[in-house]
């Protein structure tokens, strides 16, 4: 591209539809992210987040309901867990692992790290990785910073250092990239082309923005809109031969009519041929082997000129 630090994270032009190949000649990718975090806002998990009826539902009945639906339709998901919840949810996580789902990191407390110093953020990253590794018996390979319902933005919050720290910590992918609707490389250092694969995420396919959003009583209950978005994006991406990611929160989508929409959506997908349903790790591994950054990431030197009356 013409690279510009602080503005761009990847190359100038995304990969066109015609260049994308999926394993076994399949037509479209389908990935499902299930976020078990109950953090309500940028401060990350608080006791209040974990001590209300919706939280209890989310950690018990809701999570089981979603797992049963995934099992019934044979769909694999990536479960994202803040390190602070890994012990609370030990039994649940064991059940999901037994079903073949992947467990990925959702930060230490699922807190906003955008204003932390690099050292403080690195320290929290180390602790989160250690806690998750101890509980899971293996290091997580994916890291997510998904948005929370009361964040000021709907994209998740990372700092300018996060991706670089994740590379140094040995992570294989970042789970919520927004610069493309397929996997793409997030460059943390232009000179060395040091990069981490980012998997696609988009909030219009994330249940938390359509179900009692942003909190009980505000009345923004639009599961039908979410269902329409899932269908419209899936159809469009399938036609293009690209990828569709949906993000689920059991405390939200696990409830009654909402769960029925999820079942209806998966029932529809069951009749669609040539879908590839990887976990985050499988998707990242396929992508980095098939489309390595050394060959497929096209970075061009910066042509940006600074001016005293302009932002840089």
């Amino acid at each position: 591209m013409p690279w510009k630090q602080g503005y761009t994270i990847s190359d100038e032009i995304g990969m066109p539809d015609a260049d994308i190949q999926w394993p076994g000649g399949r037509r479209c990718g389908l990935s499902v992210t299930v976020d078990l975090s109950l953090a309500g806002g940028p401060e990350g998990l608080t006791a209040a987040d974990l001590t209300n009826s919706i939280a209890v539902f989310g950690m018990n009945d809701g999570t089981r309901q979603v797992r049963d639906v995934l099992r019934r339709f044979g769909i694999k998901a990536t479960l994202t867990v803040p390190a602070a919840m890994v012990n609370i949810l030990a039994d649940t996580i064991g059940e999901w692992v037994a079903d073949g789902h992947e467990i990925a990191a959702q930060g230490l407390m699922h807190e906003d790290v955008s204003k932390l110093s690099r050292d403080e953020e690195a320290d929290r990253l180390r602790l989160a990785t250690e806690m998750l590794s101890d509980a899971l018996g293996a290091r997580p390979t994916g890291w997510f910073s998904l948005p929370r319902q009361n964040d000021p933005f709907s994209v998740g919050t990372i700092s300018p250092n996060t991706i670089d720290l994740l590379i140094d910590a040995g992570y294989d992918y970042f789970g919520n990239g927004l610069a493309d609707d397929i996997p793409h490389y997030w460059v943390s250092d232009f000179e060395s082309a040091k990069s981490l694969l980012a998997l696609p995420y988009y909030y219009h396919f994330d249940d938390q923005f359509f179900m009692m959003f942003p909190r009980v009583g505000t009345g923004l209950e639009n599961p039908d809109t979410l269902f329409a978005n899932w269908n419209a994006e899936f159809d469009a991406q399938y036609k293009r031969g690209r990828h569709f990611n949906m993000t689920l929160h059991p405390y939200a989508v696990g409830w009654c009519n909402r769960l029925k929409l999820l079942e209806d959506f998966f029932a529809r997908l069951a009749g669609v041929p040539d879908l590839w349903n990887p976990t985050g790790r499988e998707l990242a591994s396929y992508w980095t082997e098939t489309y390595p950054a050394e060959t497929y990431l096209h970075l061009e030197p910066e042509i940006w000129t600074d001016h005293s009356d302009s932002l840089s």
Partner: protein, 297 residues
């Protein structure tokens, strides 16, 4: 008696409204060229992450905008080309340093590339404002080979006229193109209207215009398709104008490209639709309905 100060307040309101209103000259006999009943301008505000940068937001907000530069703009160009429609790409000057290939491709495909502010803001200082207009104009000129003729911005009218612009495109003072008088009270610039109700960000962009979470209205494509179709039909029946404002980082998403494809296909079932660029509409108005000075001194 005793109402003097209230009457004075009301008189001040009246004179403010009158003075502001008099800066507008409306076209009383607007008609599209030939047999056309309606002019439809598809416009793309190609700001990618620049507004997020002006607002000092975080890396994933920038990445959300980056989608527009590396993916969305290409899909929109492909959509317009597949329908043989020429659109107007309102492009901040800085985008020429981030996505030069897309800007060149838009111009090569025959689309209009016009100004959308140097770095997606209008500086308060008059000298800096003029410098920004000049920087953006120079950057676009270098890529497209000629000076842009329009600006979607709230730049002051005088500086835009001085820089050679023949139209602006902002605000909704009238549903048809109209003239706005410059700060000197004399010169007039054609304005091509735009309305937030026909703007993708209104429906699909979280925290757009700083709205809080409880005020979000994230919706789905079919609802917007019907709203915009109703807008089109109303103007079609009346014989008028429709400006559809799209952001590549919003409308470039696959589900919305598909919706726009259906919207355009439906519009094309009607005879007499003039799919044109803003510059086409501007030149037509300046030629057929020149300003009379009624909005000037």
């Amino acid at each position: 008696m005793g109402h003097e100060h209230l009457r004075a307040d009301i008189a001040a309101l009246e004179s403010a409204a009158t003075a502001y209103g008099e800066r507008h000259e409306f076209l009383t006999d607007f008609a599209c060229p030939g047999e056309h009943r309606i002019a439809v301008n598809f416009t793309c505000d190609f700001d990618a992450m620049l507004l997020r940068r002006v607002l000092g937001e975080t890396p994933l907000q920038f990445a959300r905008g980056e989608f527009g530069g590396r993916v969305g703009i290409w899909r929109l160009l492909e959509l317009f080309d597949s329908h043989d429609i020429k659109a107007t790409i309102f492009t901040p000057g800085r985008i020429c340093e981030l996505y030069p290939k897309a800007v060149r491709a838009a111009a090569t495909d025959g689309h209009e590339v016009a100004d959308h502010m140097w770095e997606h803001r209008v500086p308060k200082e008059p000298d800096v404002e003029r410098a920004h207009i000049n920087k953006s104009t120079a950057a676009l000129t270098a890529l497209i080979g000629h000076r842009p003729t329009g600006s979607r911005s709230r730049h002051k009218v005088g500086p835009l006229i001085d820089a050679g612009y023949i139209y602006s495109s902002h605000g909704s003072a009238h549903h048809l193109p109209h003239y706005i008088t410059a700060e000197d009270g004399v010169r007039q610039l054609l304005n091509i209207p735009f309305h937030f109700a026909i703007d993708d960000a209104m429906f699909f962009s979280f925290a757009w215009q700083g709205s809080g979470n409880a005020a979000q209205n994230l919706t789905e494509p079919d609802r917007v398709l019907e709203l915009w179709w109703a807008a089109f039909e109303q103007q079609y029946e009346q014989g008028g104008y429709l400006n559809i404002c799209l952001h590549p980082f919003v409308s470039g998403r696959a589900l919305r490209i598909e919706m726009l494809d259906r919207l355009i296909t439906r519009m094309k079932t009607k005879p007499g639709v003039w799919f044109s660029t803003c510059e086409d509409v501007a030149r037509h108005c300046l030629d057929a309905f020149p300003p009379t000075g009624a909005g000037g001194a």
